[in-house]
Point group: C2
Chain length 323, copies 2
Amino acid sequence: MSRSGYTVDHRLSDVDANVHHAWDNDLEPILTVEPGDVVRFECRDAVDGQLPVDASAADVPEVSFDPVHPLTGPVAVEGAEPGDVLEIELLAFQHKGWGYTAFMPGEMGLGLLPEEFPEAGLHVWDLEDDVGRFVNGIEVPLDPFPGVIGVAPGEPGEHDTLPPRSVGGNVDIKHLTAGSTLYLPVEVDDALFSVGDCHAAQGDGEVCVTGIEAPMFVTCRFDIHDDRELDAPQFETDGPFTPTGHDERMYATSGVEDDLMAATKSAVRSMIDHLSAERGLTRGEAYILCSAAVDLKINEVVDAPNWVVSAYLPESLFPDPEE
Amino acid sequence: MSRSGYTVDHRLSDVDANVHHAWDNDLEPILTVEPGDVVRFECRDAVDGQLPVDASAADVPEVSFDPVHPLTGPVAVEGAEPGDVLEIELLAFQHKGWGYTAFMPGEMGLGLLPEEFPEAGLHVWDLEDDVGRFVNGIEVPLDPFPGVIGVAPGEPGEHDTLPPRSVGGNVDIKHLTAGSTLYLPVEVDDALFSVGDCHAAQGDGEVCVTGIEAPMFVTCRFDIHDDRELDAPQFETDGPFTPTGHDERMYATSGVEDDLMAATKSAVRSMIDHLSAERGLTRGEAYILCSAAVDLKINEVVDAPNWVVSAYLPESLFPDPEE
């Protein structure tokens, strides 16, 4: 899960002095780099250690959101000016052998279907040999990426890390894998880049509110473009464009509704029903698997007044019954 | 683009007597089949011949929507009852050598970005060797599927074919390729199946309101399940899950907004900007290429209040500048 041919110029550990918990362009940079420099960031998990490897579902409601998300940074990229574009070449990711997927108690209103999941849920994944181990012999291939990656907003003050913004942040774009290049609009001098909340895998949508959350090292190279303008993130990626890294048989459930969010909810509800009825998962396990390895696609947004969104489940996640 | 190992039991031409233009469970079936039967349907294009192979953009505003969509059917599947599930195994598609992608004058309000495209646009595609030929040497691989595929709604009366419904219809799911199996809820006796509006290719989203619209033959096999229930379409598919049939470098533009439709529009607007600035397309050509070969994915729907949708462009659509 790395690109060859680079040398790390700077290493940043995840000690408290290198970690912040809100976007704020008034934060002092912990490092200043030149364009072309390669930095290896140690990143904490999304809830900052509150769900360790031996956690259980009972621990999830006790999680405090105050330290969410711990981000490593900010790093100043010398010469970046408002109006420029910061290029971040993602070179490598290295997890630490484990991760978790959690959903919160429904009353917190997080995730796509909080009303259907009043109780919290948790799965702790052993990450070995580039797969995550789930229940019933199900294995999810790993394609690590940073859930939160961004630069400081131009607007002064502290900004919550939960919502993504035009300058990036919690974009949860699972295609920002090793080998990808992300372009972000710069709004403050020296850009002030931070990264964290890494996921070892995630389905498009991240429906239960977490991917496979995992502490991780992120290695990337920076560059600045003063000859282009952006008003939102753009990126280049080699994918993979399926949860398993190859085209294969998938089972899909569609939502047909006059609102894209309603269509998305319908599609995911039907997929949870399918996973429960046909694959023997509890509804909580199904919700977690959807978040970790089921992709949401917009099939059409033009056949007014109804739009179609479908959820896609790769069949090779499941053990072959004949083996 | 076909599955081997079947025999066609029935052929239906696209003569007027076999074609209808609205969903209506009072229509007489043009054919009654048994479960297991294979039917080859000849299907007209979406606008029923009003945009022939030598049409130009000037013809598009003259298109009447009265005959949209011409559907071949209905076919009665003997024994299907309300509450059952109709299985449609898609066996083969055969186009007739050409197709078109059109967008309507903006004042009609069709497509994702009507306000940005006041004038109509059209590209007529030569379809040969399983690729569609666009401008500037761009080639789009073909993966044919039916834009409209469904059964009669239970509610009496005529229903417009434009919106998809829980019983299918204009779902525009591009993964319903040869080898796929679609499951639809049955609402009336004998299901009353119809198909049409075939696309030789389409991006997820179909943003300009048409794919590569092409008259086509569709071959499928029917079966009935009385032991399961559905409230919306479900399907199995082998993909492909990218516009080119393989993972490859893609350029992607993201929309970050507090509404999924707004995020979708932002992502597509940025992709049109990119195609204009970096690939030398007119904005109209870019809109058409987005509709034919750019995929929309929902990256996250849980990081309130902002959601992320991205548009993905495969780089191999473009001719290699070094060749």
